[in-house]
């Protein structure tokens, strides 16, 4: 317990904190005596019990932001609170759409460095050190803040386990949002949910991903079929997302989702570092690829050097036969 207060930014969807928020709260409990949450949305009181259970003593809530994007508004609100005397030594964000926007704008407002893509953090006296995995995860770089706080940090999903600490519901307080002027001019005019059946990609126990080796968009059907049979989620490499075969929400990798399932099956994926960063934490990895030199075989527990168009239909047939 070396820090006094850490603030964690809450990413919330459909009235529930995202898993990353609970992961970060869990970690924050081990870093500081007092953990508080910044929440940009309505109905903070409904979130107070779960946030408290994971360690937050207080929720600083902006209230409903309406159609505004959170970046400028929340950054301005936190900066004003810090100038007004609030004294978190460390600000913790998930590496999410909202977290990046808020943290980046905040770093300018406070003129503080922001350390991103972290997978670990440690506090030594008053020094905060973050660890980032680079070169596809084969090298770990530890960086410490040299200037004055508050220090701003962003963490990759699944860097920490989420465990309840058994705390009481967090106290709810208001976080005033100053006028953001022209920089707050963006407005959301419509929201679209891309429907997917089965478990969510970043929560599934089994993930089956397809890449360029499938040859054509129509063959992605094999990936979906196999995922369904294994009660898993279908995923994709960046190459076929860029090619427009599947939506971005399917992408596994540095710029997509981070997954750590029990079993990851990579089909026709060579294993670019961009992809490996998002899946090498999987407990078991199966790779099917024509090229025996493909980097994916370097991390696979089981590798089949073969044509996905031959192996997958037989595999699907065998699983169907088991019923």
């Amino acid at each position: 317990m070396t820090l006094n207060t850490v603030w964690v930014y809450a990413d919330v969807a459909a009235g529930r904190p995202l898993s990353i928020t609970l992961e970060l709260l869990t970690k924050a409990r081990s870093l500081a005596a007092n953990v508080e949450v910044v929440y940009a949305g309505a109905n903070a009181a409904e979130l107070a019990p779960v946030l408290g259970a994971f360690g937050a003593s207080k929720v600083h809530a902006t209230g409903d932001l309406g159609e505004r994007l959170p970046g400028p508004a929340v950054a301005a609100a936190i900066a004003a609170a810090v100038r007004g005397g609030a004294a978190p030594e460390l600000l913790v964000f998930g590496q999410t759409y909202e977290g990046r926007d808020v943290a980046a704008r905040l770093s300018v407002k406070l003129d503080r460095t922001v350390l991103t893509n972290n997978v670990d953090v440690a506090v030594d006296g008053e020094t905060v050190r973050c660890t980032t995995a680079i070169f596809g995860g084969n090298t770990l770089v530890t960086t410490e803040f040299t200037g004055a706080g508050p220090h701003i940090t962003l963490f990759r999903p699944k860097s920490f386990a989420a465990e309840e600490g058994g705390g009481a519901a967090a106290e709810v307080g208001a976080l005033a949002v100053p006028d953001t002027g022209t920089s707050g001019g963006a407005r959301v005019t419509g929201r679209h949910v891309e429907a997917s059946s089965g478990p969510k990609l970043d929560e599934a126990e089994v993930v089956v991903s397809g890449g360029r080796g499938l040859g054509e968009a129509g063959k992605y059907e094999l990936i979906e079929q196999l995922a369904r049979l294994l009660r898993g989620a279908p995923g994709a490499s960046r190459a076929i997302v860029d090619a427009g075969w599947v939506p971005y929400s399917y992408q596994v990798g540095q710029t997509g989702k981070v997954v750590k399932p029990s079993v990851y099956i990579a089909c026709g994926i060579s294993g670019a570092t961009q992809h490996m960063v998002g899946m090498k934490g999987s407990k078991n990895i199966i790779a099917i690829n024509k090229d025996k030199e493909a980097p994916i075989f370097g991390i696979a527990d089981l590798g089949i050097v073969g044509d996905v168009h031959k192996v997958l239909p037989k595999l699907i047939e065998a699983l169907q036969a088991r019923g």
Partner: protein, 260 residues
């Protein structure tokens, strides 16, 4: 409509990256190329300017050793001119320091109706520089655009979200970050490559931009790398050539894990 695109010139990602053991920063002394991620912004900018029926696409970049190879690629695609900030004093800049440099470079161009950038670079991928740039320039912003249109004085964006995408409207001037796949980048034509050689690249130092040397580079960075270690390597397992029965090995593996 005038569009400024932030472009990064990076070591070829096809080659394995390495850290300079003295500074623990990424080695950049070899030939640099245009970050693939930035080709989308350049293409988007060219299409938006063409659709607007006037204006031009300019580039801003920060790179060591007066490097222009990547800028020439973007100029060959059709950008009109570039500001290159190259200065040994900038080595070790963090994301905020880089954003401060780019903000001054955009101002040197007289501002823009729209500033485009990638969501993150391929080599450093902090993913914060564009949004920091927007804040420094006092601009509204929309990150993670998968579709961009300009209608009058408003930019309309389809923005990726956890669940799908949002429609977002933002008054110009603004900054937008684009994802790979927002448009299909053109290949530079031979004519474009030849024309690029004589397009103006305004090379400047931090001092030329009026930047205080203590606010950028290693001096202005609020971070210091204290350790570089090898991650625990994942051991490769059993690799088999498919003899027609490879699928059975997968079934057996899944059975052993009690997945089926």
């Amino acid at each position: 409509m005038n569009v400024v695109v932030c472009v990064k010139q990076i070591p070829d990602p096809a080659n394995p990256g390495a850290l300079d053991p003295a500074t623990n920063t990424l080695k950049r002394e070899g030939k640099l190329i245009l970050d693939d991620s930035d080709a989308y912004g350049v293409e988007m900018a060219l299409q938006l300017v063409a659709a607007a029926g006037g204006g031009e696409v300019s580039l801003v970049s920060m790179a060591p050793n007066g490097e222009t190879a990547g800028l020439r690629t973007a100029l060959a695609m059709g950008a009109a001119k570039a500001v290159l900030v190259s200065d040994p004093a900038l080595q070790g800049s963090d994301a905020l320091g880089t954003a401060k440099v780019l903000a001054k470079a955009v101002e040197r161009l007289g501002g823009a109706d729209l500033v485009l950038a990638a969501t993150e670079s391929t080599d450093g991928y902090t993913g914060t520089t564009p949004e920091q740039l927007a804040e420094l320039l006092g601009l509204p912003s929309v990150t993670f655009a998968k579709k961009v249109e300009v209608a009058g004085s408003v930019v309309k964006v389809q923005r990726q979200t956890e669940a799908g995408y949002d429609d977002v409207e933002c008054p110009l001037p603004a900054l937008v970050t684009v994802t790979a796949g927002v448009v299909e980048p053109r290949y530079p034509s031979f004519k474009g490559i030849m024309a690029a050689k004589s397009k103006p690249v305004d090379q400047v130092t931090a001092a030329d931009l009026g930047l205080d040397a203590t606010s950028v580079g290693q001096a202005g960075s609020g971070q210091r790398i204290v350790a570089v270690t090898a991650a625990e390597a994942r051991q490769a397992g059993q690799i088999l050539e498919d003899d027609g029965e490879g699928f059975a090995k997968v079934v057996e593996f899944l059975e052993n894990l009690k997945v089926i």
